[in-house]
Symmetry: C2
């Protein structure tokens, strides 16, 4: 196993490798895609895919395109989420959002292009290297879990519930639904996909999926806490925006103290699910703790 | 082989079958997706996929989800293309466009959901039915050609060139690039995919891909002619919109008479590429002729 920073460096080095070369007429789209992919980011999701594959004895070289595709999907969701018709954000990661730089039309198409490229690369990978039948099935499963968790029953469902929660009477159930799908699903998917690529058994996959969903939900709870307590400078984005948008999140529905105890509880649940898996599991235990204390 | 109308009926009957059931919080998204899928449409692209598969001796039941996915991708591209930040259209197929009915935020997410669902269903199909290794490769090739022709080197490239061609000095080369990618690629992809599913040989695939690209480019040329000559009532959409948007199309760059002769030439080239393939090929020859005379 490598460190988080080592996996992150691999992702940052290769993140543009799978974006097809485009015609000169389309260079603005490529610049727009490249801008949002390289403007910064924790790379949590692709790192989780590499680490999960590595942990279960898989080949991280084979896992790399899958990891990059997860980041393409995450990035497209941010570009579309920031659009004026959605959350209307001018800043992301301390820099102007994609549509502020390239215009709304190109931002919409860049988001579409990133999602489409992810799907295209995932199916290319299944075909590549003349894999054995078992390996081909494992690779297809990895592609399918990424695409299903980002779709109409996954991340997009969370986005829809989030968009519709503006100026509404929101229940804890709806906030949980948003946390689980908008954030949890695309943190769980790379873990399951990485383990599928390593041909891991079902019990291991289920335990790690539970871990990932809990850190994912905790991630969103902390986002809500930081939106309440943080400052724009260290966050690199506008703070208090949920309130401005009339959205009710974990802090609004549960109060700040309950939200903090929920974050602790999610972190502990995540760790408890996997801590019996031996020495290498420390990567995932430490990651859960470090995510709990992030300030941006 | 069945008739165009018979293939079209199969598509219309099953088009919603592969859209996953969604949670109640997401019902507006489902309604939005369903609205655009059922508001009408020629179903040219999915019919071509079924017909190509059938022609080459494949199983159209297996091809049906692939055909529906092509229509999902086509429909998402129309929803996003109609958005205020893109072509800003209020009417599509004689009915209000998606964002006029459901709002811009849901329209953006409905487009995303349709593209994502297509990719999800395509990878699910590769895994389904415990296919043999050869069949699994053919199915993955079909999925991959659909996704690559709709992506950053295909349909999306055409959209970008089209968006950027507003109020510019446009050359015949750029108009041809738009025709080939914005329209031709997503008419060519289902033909190649359908033939891949039927395990057709390379020569047949290449000849039919040439046929499809020519009817696809012809389709766009006729769209431009109808945008110049047609009336809004029979077209079901605003006429003269390219001029209003400051876009230069085939009529603007070549003149109406040259555009008409180009359409004839594309139709003849398409037919000539495949007419030696025996009796059943009449489906494709007649289709090429009928597309040339459509009025909407």
């Amino acid at each position: 196993m490598l460190s988080f920073e080592e996996y992150r460096t691999i992702i940052n080095t290769h993140l543009l490798d799978y974006i097809p070369q485009v015609d000169e007429y389309v260079s603005s789209l490529y610049e727009s895609v490249k801008y949002s992919l390289t403007v910064g980011g924790k790379r949590l999701r692709p790192v989780l895919l590499l680490a999960a594959c590595d942990f279960a004895g898989g080949d991280i070289k084979e896992a790399l395109p899958y990891a990059c595709c997860v980041e393409y999907i995450h990035t497209y969701s941010l570009i579309h989420d920031d659009l004026p018709a959605m959350d209307n954000d001018d800043l992301r990661r301390g820099k102007p959002t994609n549509h502020k730089v390239f215009g709304e039309d190109i931002a919409i198409l860049a988001g579409d292009a990133l999602l489409n490229t992810a799907a295209e690369v995932l199916t290319s990978q299944i075909l590549s290297n003349s894999y054995s039948h078992t390996k081909m099935i494992n690779h297809t499963k990895a592609a399918n879990i990424i695409l299903s968790r980002s779709g109409i029953k996954g991340m997009i469902a969370g986005q829809v519930a989030d968009v519709q929660n503006e100026h509404q009477n929101v229940t804890p159930d709806i906030v949980h639904f948003i946390d689980e799908h908008k954030c949890g699903d695309l943190i769980t998917a790379p873990v399951i996909a990485g383990l599928n690529l390593a041909n891991a058994d079902e019990k291991l996959i289920n335990d790690f999926a539970y871990y990932a969903m809990n850190i994912g939900i905790g991630f969103q709870i902390l986002d809500d806490i930081l939106d309440f307590e943080g400052d724009s400078l260290s966050m690199g984005k506008h703070v208090g925006k949920d309130k401005d948008l009339g959205k009710c999140n974990n802090v609004c529905v549960h109060g700040i103290n309950k939200a903090k105890s929920m974050l602790n509880s999610r972190t502990e649940k995540a760790k408890a699910a996997i801590e019996h898996y031996g020495e290498n599991v420390s990567f995932f235990l430490e990651l859960a703790d470090s995510l709990k204390t992030r300030r941006k």
